[in-house]
């Protein structure tokens, strides 16, 4: 599995688009305090004013600048996506590799828990728990990661099981390497691409779920979120405001999610040699 996957992603058209979109978004989010003309919670203008040179996307029902809210919403989405993706991905790797290496009762126990969690949609669990905690940024990341890791754990475990059979691992064992050493030095480094794919997938679902939870009003109302903007704007569809209040956060969210989908599609094609043939066929 020694593929230069950044190179491959850059060569894949969809993957390249996804990568650039994410980079653009990360730039906007990182520079939000400089790019946003006003603080997102400040009431800086008349309510429902249409787009103008002072307010690029107009203002909402309480006179907050929508363009600023949108920029800060990008921060939330990205932080939640990266945070939950990283955390869930790491838990997946820990659980997946350890159960592949240890096997036996521990393996079946882990997989039992994974299967049990895989049956229920994580959104439902997140709503249930979130309804009590009103999660803010950090709690939200923890909450989403707690329900997102099982899918990845299965994939990682399957991969680790096959990596375990490699001759290099057998050689390391004959030199007296313990399970922990093998896991850290032989299995986890080779898991790289699969791990990345799992994390991107988790990040995508986390961003989706954050927006969904905010849209339902589960999250802390002070969280700047695209989902929450859409929830608020949806009440005013009878006014013209949806053009600059409802559509931008929805489009931004869709673009973000689509970019991550493109990335993971590209990665999947790279990782799965059978699909690789198809790509070359389809390319002519």
């Amino acid at each position: 599995m020694h593929v230069d996957y950044w190179q491959e992603i850059r060569e894949d058209r969809l993957g390249r688009i996804g990568l650039y979109l994410i980079l653009l978004l990360a730039l906007l989010a990182a520079l939000a305090p400089f790019l946003a003309p006003y603080p997102p919670e400040a009431r800086v203008g008349a309510a429902f004013s249409p787009p103008s040179s002072r307010h690029w996307l107009g203002t909402n029902d309480v006179g907050q600048d929508i363009w600023s809210c949108l920029l800060y919403g990008a921060r939330t989405s990205l932080v939640v996506g990266c945070g939950a993706g990283l955390l869930a991905g790491t838990i997946s790797v820990l659980v997946g590799t350890s159960s592949a290496l240890v096997g036996g009762f521990y393996d079946s126990l882990c997989m039992r828990v994974v299967d049990a969690l895989l049956v229920i949609p994580p959104v439902l669990l997140a709503i249930l728990v979130g309804a009590y905690f009103k999660p803010h940024l950090l709690t939200l990341v923890l909450l989403l990661a707690a329900f997102l890791w099982p899918g990845g754990a299965r994939i990682i475990r399957a991969e680790a099981l096959s990596l375990k059979e490699k001759k290099s691992v057998a050689a390391a064992r004959t030199f007296g390497a313990g399970s922990l050493y093998i896991m850290a030095r032989h299995i986890v480094p080779d898991l790289g691409p699969v791990w990345l794919a799992v994390m991107i997938q988790d990040a995508r679902r986390a961003i989706f779920m954050e927006a969904g939870l905010s849209f339902l009003g589960v999250c802390d109302p002070t969280l700047h979120s695209w989902g929450r903007m859409m929830q608020q704007a949806l009440e005013f569809t009878y006014l013209e405001v949806w053009k600059w209040w409802l559509l931008p956060p929805g489009l931004a969210l869709s673009l973000t999610v689509a970019a991550l989908s493109f990335l993971s599609f590209a990665l999947e094609r790279i990782l799965n040699p059978r699909l690789r043939g198809e790509r070359e066929d389809a390319g002519h």
Partner: protein, 337 residues
């Protein structure tokens, strides 16, 4: 190595399927435990956490004493859990102080609309996804295939509720073709055929949203399965026999490509159910989604818990039934036993 993973995955799948019933019980237990412990672990009065702020306003000392007794709140946690389970098995999901009714009856009042919407969406999205997948897979690399693949992958990136919002804005707000929300025209007292038309008129947009969003996965599965199937020997045989194109497409290749769709049906249904929740909120369609949304707004915890419990139970039962169905559809699984 790829084969190796595949083989192992298959074995894992089979073993998992044996254990599925146990899994479902474990899952249900996890949900019950969450339902039980969450309100009781919150800081402050557990009664408030169980019933929400609304209840406290209506609460008289006698009622409070009765509730404490009913939930065994003065007893140790273990006995409380037993009391909770006992109430559940009697079909008692608690009492909503917002609706002044038993949670079960509130939920049952909203359930038919959700069943109607998600049932129709299931049939139509599967059918649409399958047909599009067969057609696209058959014409792999051609214009139609590329068009479908790009469009649907783009739609795939859109959250369910945003697609709903787009349709709502376009068809209802801008063009005024469909109602803005609800499931019936209020106070119209329509009968028979007119009533049915009215229901369909209100149903159209949420249904369209769900079908468009949910057919994507079926489409991708069928398409990729078609692509591999078309290379198989029996397709060549069918062609050599002189079968017509459409017969090869649906009777030979299509039928064979149905298997991954059936295998993924559990996931499809789960997505459909959560999708329905969000789409209902967008169109204020009076199903479980809207009920949940309102309950979240007013912090009506018994209703939140009840809706989520019923939804997870539905997901589990559906998966269980699908497992039984697989045994019929794929003889290999039966054989592996």
């Amino acid at each position: 190595m790829e084969n190796n993973v595949d083989m192992k995955n298959k074995v894992v799948c089979k073993v998992a399927r044996y254990n599925n019933v146990v899994n479902y019980i474990v899952t249900f237990f996890i949900i019950l435990t969450l339902n039980f412990f969450l309100p009781r672990l919150m800081p402050g009065d557990p009664l408030q956490a169980i019933y929400g702020d609304d209840a406290l306003i209506a609460m008289t000392p006698e009622l409070k004493a009765e509730l404490i007794q009913r939930f065994a709140l003065d007893k140790p946690l273990g006995e409380q859990f037993v009391a909770y389970l006992r109430a559940l098995f009697r079909g008692d999901l608690g009492y909503s102080y917002y609706y002044h009714a038993q949670v079960v009856s509130v939920v049952l009042g909203y359930l038919p609309w959700t069943l109607l919407l998600s049932g129709l969406a299931l049939v139509l999205s599967t059918l649409t996804g399958f047909i599009l997948g067969v057609e696209a897979g058959f014409r792999r690399g051609q214009g139609l295939d590329k068009l479908l693949l790009t469009t649907l992958m783009l739609v795939n990136g859109f959250p369910d509720f945003f697609v709903g919002i787009l349709f709502l804005l376009l068809f209802s707000v801008v063009w005024g073709l469909f109602p803005l929300g609800g499931s019936l025209t209020p106070y119209a007292s329509l009968k028979g055929f007119d009533l049915m038309l009215d229901i369909l008129h209100h149903l159209a947009l949420p249904l369209l949203t769900l079908v468009v969003v949910r057919c994507v996965n079926i489409f991708l599965l069928t398409r990729s399965s078609m692509v591999t199937t078309l290379g198989a020997g029996f397709i060549l045989t069918a062609r050599a026999k002189g079968c017509k194109d459409i017969r090869v497409r649906y009777h030979h290749a299509g039928r064979h490509s149905l298997l991954p769709v059936v295998t993924a049906a559990g996931l499809h249904l789960t997505h459909l159910i959560t999708g329905t929740l969000f789409v209902e909120v967008v169109f204020s369609y009076p199903g479980l989604g809207s009920l949940l949304y309102n309950a979240l707004m007013v912090r009506d915890y018994p209703v939140i818990q009840g809706v989520l419990l019923i939804l997870t139970a539905a997901v589990l039962i559906i998966n269980l039934m699908l497992d039984l169905l697989y045994l019929k559809v794929d003889p290999r699984i039966n054989y592996a036993r």
